[in-house]
C-alpha cells in the first residue's frame, strides 16, 4: 500500500518540477475569488480533487499490474524464466512441473491481493461519495466528498469528520475555537483546541462567510501532522491584512469535530495531498538478519546450480566426443538436430540441465516463510500475558517481517519516561526561595521544612515572602497548556467546571503539567478554565482571578522550557517561564539561586523530575518589542521554526527565579525485573532520556540498570570542563581495559563471581563532542572508536539530556559499528519515533503521550514488562523456528536434487529425470511442505516458563548462531551425504544384480525386471521418508497436530503414489508410473533396502546430536536434560500446574 503512495508522491513532485516554476508554496483563493487587481500576481495552480485512492488496481489493470508486481520479486521471476525455458526448448521435465507451483503461488497471491483491493475500493467509494456541505454563493449545498476542491468553504457540524485538510475560518463558539479529536490519526483521544483566524472568526453565517475575500499562501503538503506554516491575506476595504497560520489553524482530514456546534473552514489540501493520505505510506522496509542469511544461502545455491549445469554440460560433450557414444545405431538424432550448431546445442543442453536442477531453489520456501511469519505473528497478538487489563490493550504487530529478529537483539535502547516509568506523575513538593511546600502538609496549615541542607530564612514567611509564594503558585497555574475537559453526563447536558469538582478533569499532552496543576489545586490555587483568552484561577480565598493570555511560547524539546505572557487584572504584564534547570538557570539574573539549586539537586538524586519556575515583569515598551519579535517570526513562511526559536531566545531572558517543583514518576511494574532479565540474556541496555543526569541515574538504580557494585564512569560536561575530552576518554578506556585484563585472569582462576561491571553516563553535549567530525582529522575518528570501545565493555549506559535526533544518532552509531549488532529501540512518545525507526526493531509502548510511537513501531506492547516475554520467549521461539525452516528447506532440496545430478553420470548426461513429473511437482508443494510449516509455527524446544526464568538461554542463539556458515555447511553436507546414500544404495541394488520382484506375493514364480522409473521411485520413497523423519528428530514439541501432520503427510505420499500408479489417467498421454509403486512394494528387497537406506541417512545426524550434546552442550541442551532428570514424569507436573491453577481459593 505504501508503494503506490510514494510513487504517487514522486509523480506529483516530478510533475511539479516539470512545471517551469517549481513552487514550494501554494496559493488558495477562498471561494475561488480572484484577488483584487494590484496585488501580487499569483500563479494559478492545479490541485487534485478530493478523491481518496487507497486501492492499487482498477478492474482493467488488475491482471497486468498485479502480474508485473508479482514478477518483480526475484523468486517469482526466476521461476517464470525456468517455466519459459521449459516451454521454448526441449527440456527433460514438462513445463507443468514448474508452471503448476508457480501458477498456484501467483493465483493465491493475486486472489488475496484482489480481495484486499476490492475491500479498499469499497472503502474508498464510501468515503468519496459521502456528502459534504459546501458554501456556494451564500448558500450551503451538498456535494459528494470527491468533488470537493481546494478553495471551497466547507461547513462541518459536530461529530462530523473533516473531509480534507482545512483552515478554520470561524466556529459557533464566540472565541473562534473548536475542539477536535484526532483519535483516528494518531490515537490521541484528548480534545485539542484549534483556533480560527482572528480576522474571520466573526463571520458566522453562510452569507457572511461567502463574503470573505482572502487568499491563503501555504507550504506544499508534507506528511508531518504537526507542522504547518501559512499566511492568510485578507482584503478588507481593499487593504490586504496578512495573518500567520500555524498548525493550530489547520484541521486535518480524519479528525472529528467535538463540543462545537459547527464550523466554517476552507479546503487547502485535498485528496491524496492531505496529511492523512501522505501518512499512509509504510515506513522503510526493515529486513531481518535471517532474511539476509537466507539471501546469502540462495546465492550459494544459485552458484551450485549453475556450476552443476556447467559441469554436466561440459562432461556431456567430453563423453560424447566418441561418435558411437553420441549416436549409437539404436539411438540416432534427427536430421534437424544434427544440423544445429554445436554452440546452440551446448547452450540448450545447459538450459536443460538448469531446468532439471532448478528445484534446488525452492519456490515454496518464500511462500512458506511468508506464511510462517504472517501466521506466527498471531501468537504475539493472542498472548494473554501481554494483555494489559488496565489499558485494555493487547500487543500490536505492525510488521511480521521481524519476528525472528526479536530473538537476536544485542542492544536495547529504552526511553525513560513512560517506558521505564509509569509516566503517571504525582506532585511531590515545590520549593519557593528555599521554602519547601508539601501538599498534604500545607493542608494542615503547616509549612514543612526541608532537609537540613536547605537554609531556611524564616519558618513563617513574612508578607514579602508570601507574595513571592503566591506569585509562584500563580505562575505554575498559568504557565501550561492544560485544558479542562468537561465531562458529559448521561443526559448530554454539559457541565462547566465547578471549582475543581470531579465532573471535570485536566488534559494535556504532558503529564507533568497535569500533575503540577493538580498539585497547585491541593495547595490552594485552582486553575478553572480558559475563556475568551483569559485564564481563570480560583485563589486561596475562593476568589476568581482573571489573567489575559497574551502569548504562549510553547514547549519544545530543544529549548526545554515554555513561557506564557499574561496581563493581570491590574494591568501589569508578566512573563512566566517554566523549564528544566539547565535551561532556566543561565537565564536567571536574580532570585535565591543557590537554595533552589541545592533543592533541585537533592530532588533529582531522589529520582524526582524537577522543573524551575521564573518570571519577568514586562514594561509596556518591552511588551511591544516582544509582540513585534513574535509577529515577525510567525509571519515568516520559510524557516519559521528557526526564526521563532530565535525570537523565544531573545524574549526569555533576564528572568527572576521563583522556585522549583518536584514531580515523581513511579517506575513501571516489574521494570527492574525486566531489565535484569535483559542483562542476563546478554543484552546491553542503554537508557536514552531527555531528563537530567541525577534524575535519570536515580531511575537507573531503581530499575537495577545500575547495581550497587556497578562502577559508574562519567562522561559529562562537568568532567570535560575539568579535563579535555581527549584525556577523559583515554582515562576511562584505561580503566575499562585494565579491568578487562584483570577479569580474564579472574575468570581463569574461577573467581568471576564478584567482578564489577561498568556503567557509563554520558550527556547530550559530550556525545555531540564525541561524534563531531573533528578538526584534526584522524583524532576525531579515534574518539568515536574509543567511545565505542568503552561502551562495549559497559553493561549499562545512560545517556541523559538527549534530543530526539540524538537518540537516533546513537542507535545508528551502534548499528553501524564494526560488529553490526542488532539493536532494539523502545519508547512511548513522539520523541522516540526517530530511534524506533532507526533501530533494527522498533517497539512502541502504549503510553500516555499519544499513539505516535505505536504507529511508527514494528511491534507495540502495553507495558515495558511485556518486553521480557516478547524477546525471551517469542523472539527466541521465532528465531529457532525460522532458522530451522530455512536450513531445512535448503537441506531437503539438496537431498531432492543431488541424486538427479548423480544420475546424469549413469545416463549419458542426457538430462533424464530420475523422478516422475508428479513427484517433481508435488515434492515441495505437498509431500514435505506441511510438516515444516507446522514445525515453524509451534515448535518449542524448551517450555516458555523456563525461557522466562532463565534468560541466559537467549545467549545460545545470539549472533545468528543457528544460521552461521558452519551450520549451513553442516546441513548442506548432510543433504549431500543423504543424497549419495540414497542414490548409490539404489544403484548397487540395481546394478549387476537381479533386483527384482520375485513375485511370491503376487503370482508364483514370475520374476519381473524393474525399469528406470522403479529406480527413481525407490530413491524418492527413501527421500520423502528420510526428510520427514529428519524433521521428526528435530521436533521437540509433539502436539497432536504434529503427529497428525507428520504421519499424515507420509500417509498422503503413500496413498497418492498408489493412486497415481493405480489408475490409467485419461489426461496423460503416457502411463509410465502405472503400477510402478505397487510392483516396487511387492518386492521384499525393496522394503529391506528402504529401511536400510533411511536408517543409514539418519544415523550420522543422530550420532552427531548425541555426541555434541555430551561434549559441547549448549545451555539449552543442559536445561533440557536437567528438566528431564528432575521431572521424570513431565505430565504429572503439567497436571499439577493445571490443578493448582484451577483451585483458586
Amino acid at each position: 500500500m505504501g508503494m503506490d503512495f510514494s510513487t504517487l508522491r514522486t509523480l506529483i513532485s516530478r510533475y511539479c518540477v516539470g512545471e517551469e516554476n517549481w513552487v514550494d508554496s501554494r496559493t488558495v483563493y477562498i471561494s475561488h475569488k480572484e484577488p483584487p487587481p494590484g496585488t501580487e500576481a499569483f500563479i494559478q495552480q492545479r490541485f487534485p480533487d478530493n478523491r481518496i485512492v487507497s486501492s492499487k488496481y482498477t478492474f482493467w489493470n488488475f491482471i497486468p499490474k498485479n502480474m508485473f508486481e508479482q514478477f518483480r520479486r526475484v523468486a517469482n521471476f526466476y521461476f517464470l524464466v525456468i517455466f519459459l525455458v521449459q516451454l521454448i526448448i526441449d527440456t527433460p521435465t514438462s513445463p507443468i512441473t514448474s508452471g503448476l507451483p508457480l501458477f498456484f503461488v501467483i493465483t493465491v497471491t493475486a486472489i488475496k491481493q484482489g480481495y484486499e483491493d476490492w475491500l479498499r475500493h469499497k472503502a474508498d467509494n464510501a468515503v468519496n461519495k459521502c456528502p459534504v456541505h459546501v458554501v456556494q454563493d451564500g448558500k450551503v449545498t451538498c456535494k459528494q466528498s470527491r468533488k470537493l476542491r481546494v478553495g471551497d468553504v466547507v461547513f462541518v457540524t459536530e461529530d462530523e469528520t473533516f473531509p480534507c485538510d482545512l483552515i478554520l475560518l470561524s466556529s459557533s463558539r464566540d472565541d473562534g475555537t473548536c475542539f477536535v479529536t484526532t483519535a483516528s490519526l494518531d490515537g490521541e483521544s484528548s480534545h485539542k483546541t484549534y483556533y480560527a483566524v482572528q480576522d474571520t472568526k466573526a463571520y458566522k453565517t453562510e452569507e457572511e462567510v461567502s463574503s470573505i475575500h482572502a487568499t491563503i499562501e501555504c507550504e506544499q503538503p508534507q506528511s508531518d501532522l504537526y507542522k504547518f506554516v501559512g499566511r492568510i491575506n485578507i482584503y478588507m476595504n481593499n487593504e490586504p491584512v496578512a495573518r500567520p497560520l500555524g498548525s493550530e489553524n489547520l484541521l486535518l482530514r480524519g479528525a472529528t469535530l467535538k463540543n462545537t456546534e459547527y464550523i466554517y473552514a476552507v479546503a487547502i489540501y485535498t485528496g491524496m495531498e492531505t496529511k492523512m493520505a501522505l501518512n499512509y505510506q509504510s515506513k522503510s522496509q526493515k529486513r531481518s538478519a535471517v532474511e539476509k542469511s537466507m539471501n546469502d544461502y540462495l546465492v550459494v545455491y544459485l552458484c551450485i546450480l549453475i556450476s552443476k549445469a556447467i559441469i554436466n554440460t561440459a562432461l556431456k560433450y567430453v563423453w560424447q566426443a566418441d561418435p558411437n557414444r553420441d549416436e549409437p545405431w539404436h539411438n540416432e538424432r534427427t536430421e534437424a538436430e544434427r544440423q544445429r550448431h554445436i554452440l546452440i546445442r551446448a547452450f540448450t543442453d545447459f538450459l536443460a540441465f538448469m531446468v532439471l536442477f532448478n528445484y534446488i531453489i525452492p519456490v515454496s520456501m518464500y511462500v512458506t516463510v511468508e506464511m510462517q511469519k504472517f501466521l506466527g505473528s498471531y501468537f504475539i497478538l493472542w498472548d494473554d500475558e501481554m494483555f494489559d487489563e488496565e489499558l485494555g490493550e493487547r500487543a500490536v504487530v505492525n510488521t511480521s517481517d521481524l519476528n525472528e529478529e526479536l530473538g537476536q537483539v544485542e542492544y536495547v535502547f529504552t526511553d525513560k519516561t513512560g517506558t521505564l516509568t509509569e509516566n503517571n506523575m504525582e506532585f511531590i513538593e515545590c520549593c519557593v526561595d528555599g521554602h519547601v511546600y508539601v501538599p498534604h502538609a500545607i493542608c494542615n496549615g503547616q509549612v514543612m521544612p526541608g532537609s537540613d541542607t536547605i537554609d531556611m530564612i524564616d519558618t513563617s514567611p513574612g508578607p514579602d515572602a508570601r507574595d513571592r509564594e503566591e506569585l509562584f503558585f500563580r505562575a505554575v497555574c498559568l504557565c501550561h497548556t492544560v485544558q479542562v475537559k468537561e465531562e458529559e453526563t448521561v443526559d448530554g447536558i454539559k457541565h462547566g467546571i465547578h471549582q475543581g469538582k470531579s465532573s471535570s478533569f485536566y488534559i494535556s499532552s504532558s503529564p507533568d503539567e497535569v500533575a503540577l496543576v493538580e498539585g497547585m489545586n491541593r495547595l490552594g490555587f485552582t486553575y478553572l478554565r480558559q475563556k475568551d483568552s483569559h485564564m481563570e484561577i480560583l485563589n486561596r480565598d475562593d476568589k476568581v482571578e482573571r489573567f489575559e493570555v497574551l502569548e504562549v511560547l510553547s514547549f519544545d524539546s530543544v529549548r526545554r522550557r515554555m513561557s506564557v505572557i499574561v496581563r493581570c487584572s491590574t494591568g501589569e504584564v508578566y512573563l512566566f517561564c517554566k523549564g528544566a534547570d539547565s535551561s532556566i538557570f543561565p537565564r536567571v539574573i536574580s532570585g535565591k539561586v543557590d537554595q533552589v539549586k541545592a533543592r533541585v539537586e537533592h530532588n533529582a538524586v531522589e529520582g524526582l523530575r524537577t522543573l524551575c519556575v521564573a518570571y519577568r515583569c514586562l514594561s509596556p515598551e518591552q511588551y511591544q518589542e516582544v509582540c513585534h519579535l513574535l509577529s515577525r517570526a510567525k509571519l515568516a513562511l520559510q524557516d519559521r521554526d528557526r526564526q521563532l526559536a530565535e525570537a523565544y531566545d531573545l524574549i526569555e531572558k533576564d528572568l527572576i527565579l521563583l522556585g522549583a517543583t518536584a514531580v515523581e514518576d513511579r517506575l513501571q511494574e516489574k521494570a527492574a525485573d525486566t531489565i535484569e532479565s535483559l542483562h542476563k540474556a546478554g543484552m546491553k541496555v542503554w537508557v536514552l532520556t531527555g531528563d537530567k543526569m541525577e534524575t535519570a541515574s536515580a531511575t537507573c538504580y531503581a530499575s537495577k540498570l545500575f547495581r550497587r557494585n556497578t562502577q559508574i564512569l562519567e562522561l559529562t560536561t562537568k568532567r570535560t570542563e575539568e579535563q579535555s575530552l581527549h584525556d577523559v576518554l583515554f582515562d576511562l578506556s584505561r580503566t575499562v581495559l585494565r579491568h578487562y585484563g584483570g577479569m580474564t585472569r579472574e575468570t581463569s582462576s574461577g573467581l568471576s563471581d564478584d567482578y564489577t561491571d561498568f556503567g557509563l553516563i554520558i550527556d547530550g553535549a559530550t556525545l555531540t563532542a564525541v561524534m563531531r567530525p573533528g578538526q584534526e582529522g584522524s583524532n576525531s575518528g579515534n574518539y568515536k572508536e574509543l567511545f565505542l570501545d568503552i561502551c562495549r565493555n559497559c553493561s549499562a549506559v545512560l545517556c541523559c539530556r538527549m534530543a530526539p535526533l540524538q537518540k537516533a544518532q546513537i542507535v545508528k552509531m551502534i548499528k553501524t559499528s564494526k560488529e553490526h549488532p542488532i539493536t532494539l529501540a523502545i519508547g512511548d512518545g513522539a520523541n522516540d519515533v526517530s530511534m524506533i525507526q532507526e533501530a533494527h526493531v522498533g517497539i512502541g509502548i502504549m503510553g500516555k503521550e499519544g499513539r505516535q510511537a505505536v504507529r511508527n513501531s514494528d511491534y507495540a506492547i502495553p507495558k515495558f514488562k511485556h518486553l521480557k516475554k516478547m524477546l525471551l520467549v517469542h523472539g527466541h521461539y521465532y528465531y529457532i523456528r525460522v532458522s530451522e525452516l530455512v536450513q531445512y528447506f535448503f537441506y531437503k532440496n539438496v537431498v531432492f536434487i543431488f541424486p538427479q545430478f548423480l544420475y546424469q553420470f549413469f545416463c549419458g548426461f542426457s538430462q533424464q529425470p530420475l523422478y516422475d513429473t508428479a513427484y517433481l511437482t508435488l515434492y515441495n508443494i505437498s509431500f514435505t511442505s506441511l510438516p515444516i510449516l507446522l514445525y515453524s509455527l509451534i515448535e518449542q524446544h524448551i517450555n516458555a516458563d523456563i525461557l522466562k526464568k532463565d534468560p541466559s538461554l537467549y545467549k545460545d542463539i545470539a549472533k545468528n548462531s543457528l544460521l552461521k556458515w558452519s551450520s549451513f555447511i553442516y546441513w548442506t553436507a548432510l543433504g549431500i551425504y543423504d543424497a549419495i546414500v540414497m542414490f548409490f544404495g539404489a544403484y548397487f541394488l540395481f546394478d549387476n544384480t537381479t533386483f527384482t520382484s520375485n513375485g511370491q506375493l503376487m503370482t508364483t514364480n514370475t520374476q519381473m525386471m524393474f525399469g528406470n522409473w522403479t529406480f527413481g521411485t525407490l530413491v524418492f520413497t527413501v527421500l520423502v521418508f528420510t526428510v520427514t523423519f529428519k524433521l521428526a528428530l528435530d521436533t521437540h514439541y509433539w502436539t497432536w497436530i504434529n503427529h497428525f501432520v507428520i504421519w499424515g503427510s507420509l500417509l498422503f505420499f503413500v496413498v497418492f503414489s498408489l493412486l497415481w500408479g493405480g489408475i490409467i489417467w485419461p489426461f496423460l498421454n503416457y502411463q509410465r508410473m502405472y503400477y510402478v509403486f505397487m510392483q516396487m512394494l511387492s518386492s521384499g528387497p525393496a522394503w529391506l533396502s528402504i529401511i536400510l537406506l533411511i536408517t543409514t541417512c539418519l544415523l550420522p545426524d543422530v550420532v552427531k546430536k548425541v555426541i555434541c550434546r555430551a561434549l559441547w552442550p549448549t545451555t539449552t541442551e543442559r536445561i533440557q536434560t536437567k528438566r528431564r532428570c528432575l521431572a521424570s514424569e513431565p505430565s504429572t507436573i503439567f497436571m499439577l500446574s493445571q490443578t493448582s491453577s484451577r483451585m483458586s481459593f
Binding site: 545416463c907 527384482t996 510392483q1079 548425541v1106 528431564r1124
Partner: protein, 339 residues
C-alpha cells in the same frame, strides 16, 4: 481518567492453542534412549544382514559372455557385421545341480536404455493399439517415425526399433546326444504391461491392422510375426517385446529371457555338459558393448545380491560401534557433570 472496568472486548482468547500451551510430548535425543536404541537396531540389522548374506550365498549364478571379442570363442565369427543369420554355439558344464527354478537372462553392458532421447522415442497410444497413431505416429518417435518413403513405422521409436533379437536354444549333452532344454517364456513381463498398457488393435487377422505401415528398420520381421504360434504372445503383447520396452535404469543391465522349470528340469539343471545355440544378430561392438547370458536361481529375497546383506551387516555393526563410542563419551564427559 477512569475507565469502566469490565472484561475488555480486546482480550485475547485464552485457549491452549493461542497461548501455545497445547499438551505435548517432549522427547529428547538423550543418551539414555539413543544408546540402547542403537544397540537394538544394530543387532536387528546384523541379524537381517546375516540372513540375507547366507541366502544370497546359496544362490547360484552362471554368467557367460558371448560377445565374441575373444578369438577363441565360437561367436567370434559372427562379430563381422556383414555376416547374416550367423549361429554360434557356446559349451559349458555344470558341476552340481543348478537348483530350480532356473532363470535365464540376457545381459547388455554399456547400453544406455536410460538415455533421455532414447527413452522418449516411443508412442504410447500406438502401443495401446490406437489405429490413428498407426497412420500418424507421434513426433516423439523421430527419427524412427517414417521410413525413407514416408511410410509410418509401427511400432515407431528407437526403443522398439532396437528390440533385442538374439535368440537362444539350450541343449543338454547326454552321451553325445543333444537334449533340448525346454524354455518357458510366459509371464516374464509385468502383468500390467501385458494386460493394460499394451494392446493389439482390435482387428482380425492382426496383420490387416498394419496395412500401409512398415516394420521398424532394424527388424527382420514385422511385429505381428513375432510369435505366429501363440496369438496371446504376438504383436505388441509379445513378452520379449514387453520386457525390452521397460527401460533399464542403468547402462549395465540384464533382462529376463526365459524360465527353465519344465519336464525333466523342474528341479533345476542337473550336472553335466550343456551347449547353448545362439543366433547372433544384435550388434554391440560399435559402442563397446558386451553381451552375456546368465543362469540364476532365486530365493525369497530375489536374485543374487550380496550388497544388501553386506550393507545390513556394515550398518548394523556401525550402530553397535557407535553406541559403544557414545557410551564411552558419556561415561567420560557427561555423568560427572550431571551431579
Amino acid at each position: 481518567m477512569v475507565r469502566i472496568k469490565k472484561e475488555s472486548p480486546d482480550r485475547p482468547d485464552n485457549t491452549a492453542f493461542t497461548q501455545q500451551r497445547l499438551p505435548a510430548w517432549q522427547p529428547i535425543l538423550s543418551a539414555g534412549i539413543v544408546i540402547p536404541g542403537f544397540v537394538l537396531i544394530g543387532l536387528a540389522f546384523i541379524g537381517v544382514g546375516v540372513g540375507l548374506f547366507i541366502t544370497s550365498r546359496d544362490i547360484q549364478v552362471l554368467e557367460i559372455d558371448y560377445t565374441g571379442t575373444d578369438q577363441t570363442s565360437d561367436c567370434n565369427k559372427c562379430t563381422n557385421p556383414n555376416t547374416k543369420n550367423c549361429v554360434c554355439t557356446l559349451s559349458f558344464n555344470i558341476d552340481t545341480l543348478f537348483k530350480g527354478p532356473v532363470f535365464f537372462y540376457y545381459g547388455l553392458t554399456n547400453y544406455f536404455q536410460n538415455h533421455r532421447r532414447y527413452g522418449v522415442s516411443r508412442d504410447y497410444k500406438q502401443l495401446y493399439g490406437d489405429l490413428a497413431n498407426f497412420k500418424d505416429p507421434s513426433t516423439d518417435c523421430a527419427p524412427y517415425r517414417l521410413d525413407s518413403r514416408n511410410n509410418p513405422i509401427v511400432p515407431c521409436g528407437s526403443v522398439a526399433n532396437s528390440l533385442f533379437n538374439d535368440t537362444f536354444k539350450l541343449y543338454q549333452i547326454v552321451n553325445g546326444q543333444r537334449n533340448v532344454v525346454p524354455f518357458d517364456g510366459k509371464g516374464i513381463a509385468w502383468w500390467t504391461d501385458y494386460n493394460v498398457k499394451f494392446k493389439n488393435p482390435d482387428v482380425t487377422p492382426l496383420q490387416n491392422a498394419f496395412n500401409g505401415t512398415v516394420k521398424p528398420l532394424f527388424w527382420t520381421k514385422a511385429v505381428y510375426e513375432l510369435d505366429f504360434s501363440d496369438p496371446s504372445n504376438n504383436g505388441f503383447i509379445n513378452q520379449d517385446f514387453l520386457v525390452w520396452m521397460r527401460r533399464a535404469a542403468l547402462p549395465n543391465f540384464r533382462k529376463l529371457y526365459r524360465r527353465i522349470a519344465e519336464e525333466n528340469y523342474t528341479n533345476g539343471l542337473p550336472a553335466g555338459n550343456y551347449s547353448l545355440e545362439i543366433s547372433y544378430n544384435y550388434p554391440v561392438l560399435s559402442f563397446n558393448g558386451r553381451k552375456k547370458v546368465v543362469f540364476s536361481n532365486v530365493s525369497w529375497m530375489g536374485g543374487k545380491n550380496d550388497f544388501l546383506g553386506i550393507a545390513y551387516l556394515v550398518i548394523g555393526s556401525l550402530c553397535v560401534v557407535m553406541s559403544v563410542v557414545m557410551l564411552i563419551v558419556y561415561a567420560k564427559f557427561k555423568f560427572p557433570e550431571d551431579d
